[in-house]
Symmetry: C2
Subunit: 323 residues, 2 copies
């Protein structure tokens, strides 16, 4: 039998409510009594039930993190960085895959209320954004801005688009293409905006194609590359997509970077090891995660954030898929 609060009270010869005050660090208890109770708790190996405590305190020490997937490199790294930061600060992380399903989102919202979740970090494109107004706990979004009033941390996707365009143009590409992800995502829109703005300065135009960034359709990519032999510079919105494009170009007899330059996105480790190594945009994923956690704990403590919408710098990693 696990020892209960009653056992502690009995052994220390005090009331249950005195033990409770010590456990919850609320209300006055004489210092000597406190020491005695702490000692008794240790002797009996009593573990205070956190569920019961969080009912009183409204403090569950749990933060929810919502992601659209886990598989891709970006989300795996992000979860790892948030969890590391949480662990260092005595918080636990519950993660939820919404998989772009609005029904799941609603179910999770209910769950968050039921479990007194202290804060929510949203790294997915949350479709029930209006429901978040009703939540009583702090919310921060990563990689998306859901609402003017909800704090966010995003990478500078406009700059990412500009950097990619500059590099392709500098390498001499004239017939540009953008191989994008889902067009409704803010990151997609911003990257494209930056890219287009930059090439417009050089009177260039980009053809735009939409793909699944996680599981690109290799057949479709081959058909598009064969049908458009004029394309000589491609900005891909994931490294996986860039790798499939590079491999397909090589298969149909076109050289990278001599005939076609390629730039990927995310700086996934494999970029360094493929042939040629892939130039890519690097977002500081660890910083995004750590900063999101830091800000949510600030909000939980009632501290105002310096910036409501924080934008983190990106850089281009030049390898051999560009000239």
């Amino acid at each position: 039998m696990k020892p209960t609060i009653k056992d502690v009270a009995k052994k220390a010869n005090v009331s249950i409510s005195t033990v409770s005050r010590v456990i919850n660090q609320k209300g006055y208890v004489h210092e000597e009594t406190k020491v005695l109770i702490d000692k008794t708790i240790k002797e009996l190996g009593f573990v205070p039930n956190q569920l019961a405590r969080s009912l009183t305190n409204r403090s569950s020490k749990i933060i929810a993190v919502i992601v659209p997937h886990i598989g891709p490199y970006f989300y795996g790294q992000l979860l790892e960085s948030i969890e590391a930061q949480a662990q260092a600060n005595g918080y636990k992380i519950m993660f939820f895959n919404v998989q772009d399903d609005p029904e799941r989102e609603l179910e999770y919202i209910k769950f968050f209320e039921q479990y007194n979740i202290e804060g929510i970090i949203i790294a997915s494109n949350f479709q029930n954004a209006n429901k978040l107004d009703e939540m009583k706990v702090p919310i921060i979004t990563i990689d998306h801005i859901l609402d003017e009033t909800i704090p966010s941390i995003t990478a500078d996707s406009v700059k990412a688009g500009e950097l990619a365009a500059q590099k392709l143009i500098k390498g001499g590409s004239k017939n540009l293409a953008v191989f994008r992800g889902p067009s409704f995502l803010m990151t997609t829109i911003e990257r494209t905006l930056g890219f287009k703005k930059e090439i417009a300065k050089h009177n260039l135009y980009a053809e735009i194609f939409d793909f699944d960034l996680v599981n690109p359709d290799a057949k479709l990519i081959e058909q598009i590359l064969r049908a458009n032999p004029h394309i000589d510079g491609i900005f891909c919105y994931s490294d996986t997509l860039a790798l499939v494009v590079q491999s397909t170009l090589q298969k149909i007899g076109r050289r990278v970077p001599e005939d076609v330059q390629i730039i990927g996105y995310d700086n996934t480790p494999f970029c360094e090891w493929v042939n040629p190594p892939i130039s890519t945009i690097s977002q500081p994923i660890n910083l995004l995660g750590k900063q999101a956690f830091l800000n949510i704990t600030r909000l939980i403590r009632g501290v105002e954030l310096d910036t409501l919408h924080e934008v983190i710098d990106v850089e281009i990693i030049e390898r051999k898929s560009t000239r």
Copy 2:
């Protein structure tokens, strides 16, 4: 103000304990009263506090999953498959990174008790295995066997080693090497066992080298490959390691598969897209995850498992890095 159980009781003109019996589906309530209370709960938008319920029921509907990392493909896929299965069955997943830190493990064990976690799936090499005996909830391990008495689901790592050896020998390699992961892991031991058993049949011998499977030391790999030009067949215990090996061999002027055959592990998507595409061992990760979840819910319901230690089949995916 959020409606409370008191508001429901007042509006339905019943006692709080009657409402409680309906919410918790415990004890007798007249059918008409039940319908009235359900209706009132809906009208008021009352959300029963799951924390309070789980105190009574000892049912938190939360399963903990412990992983050593999230970043690598294997764990990302595993978490995704477990979470999908949990979602379909009304469970939530809390995941924990132990990062091979025994202190963290102990901290988590305490947490699991505090939160009435219903079951624990361990996909890491848990170092405080002896402490698990004291846990009052079902535990299942994936990819490891911690103890005879703790149910497990593992892939057939011995067979994986045999398959890799057969393929390298069939392709004509005579001077074999094994580029392993941490030698204390059961998977490492079993893969090596199967590989050695198979090559012994052909009077062949394998040189063994240990590496970090997630972030392989590329310089060390280059030094080893340069110092051992006789090696003509390598079994790598991760696809990332296989990719670095392949890329390094090409860099120092050795052809894959003509001079050296390579086999990786995990069937990570990039294997298909690198040049040459990498032959690899495929574990059914989704099946591992789903089966682990299924078995833990069986144990929670008190159902006996058909097999205490379930072993899942593996296969070799033949691509162009082998002859």
